[in-house]
Symmetry: C2
Subunit: 299 residues, 2 copies
């Protein structure tokens, strides 16, 4: 089955202590779509400007990503520029040029409206809601977010959270949203806002699911050569949704292994700038890392 | 088989945002010995003053801890006082009164010298070395440490690390020792200093073993009611050594489950002040939490 992915499509200029990388392919939808494409067909909705390099369009196509929902508008593609500190844990935004993203209104091509799996990757919650209103009874909807929306669009975000099956956020966002620094208490509080499945991402420490079958502590795949963590969270949730769309049977039966595959694809993302390493991953390499995660967590 | 545990025996006065707790039973050896006692006989070496409350001596005895190596000296018991911040992650020392600990020289009763399992819990590395020199071919020696010794006794610590089978430290100590913030690279660097087994503790994120059979990502047991994390690391390594001493067969065959039992006993430690909750844990409760850890990590 296919996954519908809506989010940002951007050009990312990423500075780390070692290198500068101008105008890499980035954005939550780009990372999530490529990650999901390892497992299932992907329909992507986003917007780019006329400056969007055709090599990136070709990259999406090579990954079997349907671009009928990718609007091309007069103007410039959303451009984000950020800098990582030496420890790669803290990043600072240097520049945000919204370009065509400023007036983005995600409109779903008719065939997309019946997608069974929907990933509302990180964009303004008002846009995520706008997408959800166009859907015809999707089977499983997951939303991701970022701290910005907690600060400037909390009301929209709370309206969205009520309507989704799964909600994904990182630990500092969970702390901000729930006013508790205990991750297990935060999970309980977020359930009360609506979603049946809540996943709190903890970066290199993995992630924690709380769902109908209780908690699942999902390990991160060990990355010893961290190059650029941008998009790792989007890759995680993209692969998770792609895996679920491919799997037969109930979400409960598959969500743990879906998260494990998310961890693995996120590890590839971290090993290169932008999508450079992710796009070279093979199904065999993914399987190998899943097996390794089994091996190093078994007891 | 029995475990020999050497470390500090102290009175801890612990302030948290909610409560003050004067003169709880504390110290690395106390926490480790009680934790180990759930699994095997324990011989404890330490020093206390004449003010050491008899109720704490009785507590050790109730746990089957042999006190032939616990020196009682004229003067006061080591007293540490600390305060936790609201998030319980940062603590600040308010007071350190060494008392009889200042001139402590751990001397092993003759029967202790042939203990097969030796835990050098956190004390000055010179004292840990002094203990090691008294041992007759122990089967498995593990040392723990703290940031203080990295700062003021690095040379002794490096001499110690060369001689032990296993070395345990937390993530910030590992970063300080190896000058790398990637935990997997830090593990590799510490192996080069000597030990075959290296464990980096990551607090509520669990711990990572690197040993002859590769990595093991050990989860922390979910604690939703964190009361006082003091001694959690000592409990972890104490239970680990107690479990190994009880197990038959090779260390490699048992160390993963030993760490899991360490996580579980550490979780009890966190749920009460000092040793208050640890001492009420039962073997059945420990088994139940081990089963729960299996359940929430399986995929």
């Amino acid at each position: 089955m296919s996954v519908l992915i809506v989010g940002s499509t951007a050009l990312d200029s990423i500075k780390t202590p070692r290198r500068e990388n101008p105008k890499l392919l980035g954005g939550s939808a780009s990372h999530a779509a490529v990650a999901a494409s390892f497992f299932s067909p992907v329909n992507m909705v986003g917007v780019v400007g006329e400056d969007f390099p055709s090599k990136y369009t070709r990259l999406f196509k090579r990954h079997g990503i349907d671009l009928a929902g990718l609007q091309v508008k007069p103007g410039k593609t959303f451009h984000w520029s950020g800098e990582y500190e030496a420890n790669m844990n803290n990043r600072r935004t240097l520049l945000t040029e919204l370009g065509v993203f400023e007036t983005f209104s995600p409109e779903l091509p008719r065939p997309y409206q019946s997608s069974p799996f929907v990933l509302l990757a990180n964009i303004a919650p008002a846009l995520q809601l706008h997408v959800l209103r166009q859907m015809r009874r999707p089977r499983f909807v997951v939303a991701d977010t970022m701290d910005l929306w907690l600060n400037i669009a909390l009301e929209d975000l709370l309206a969205l959270i009520k309507l989704v099956d799964g909600f994904v956020l990182n630990d500092s966002e969970a702390q901000q949203l729930t006013q508790t620094d205990n991750v297990f208490n935060a999970l309980k509080k977020i359930h009360r806002l609506g979603p049946k499945y809540v996943i709190i991402k903890q970066g290199s420490h993995g992630s924690i699911l709380s769902g109908p079958k209780g908690f699942f502590l999902c390990p991160a795949y060990p990355v010893s050569g961290l190059v650029d963590p941008t998009g790792a969270g989007d890759s995680f949730v993209g692969a998770l949704m792609g895996y679920l769309a491919r799997a037969r049977g109930s979400t409960d039966a598959h969500i743990r292994r879906a998260m494990i595959h998310g961890s693995v694809v996120a590890s590839f993302c971290c090993e290169g700038f932008g999508l450079n390493r992710t796009v070279t991953a093979t199904p065999a390499q993914i399987d190998e890392r899943v097996k390794r995660l089994e091996q190093i967590t078994r007891f």
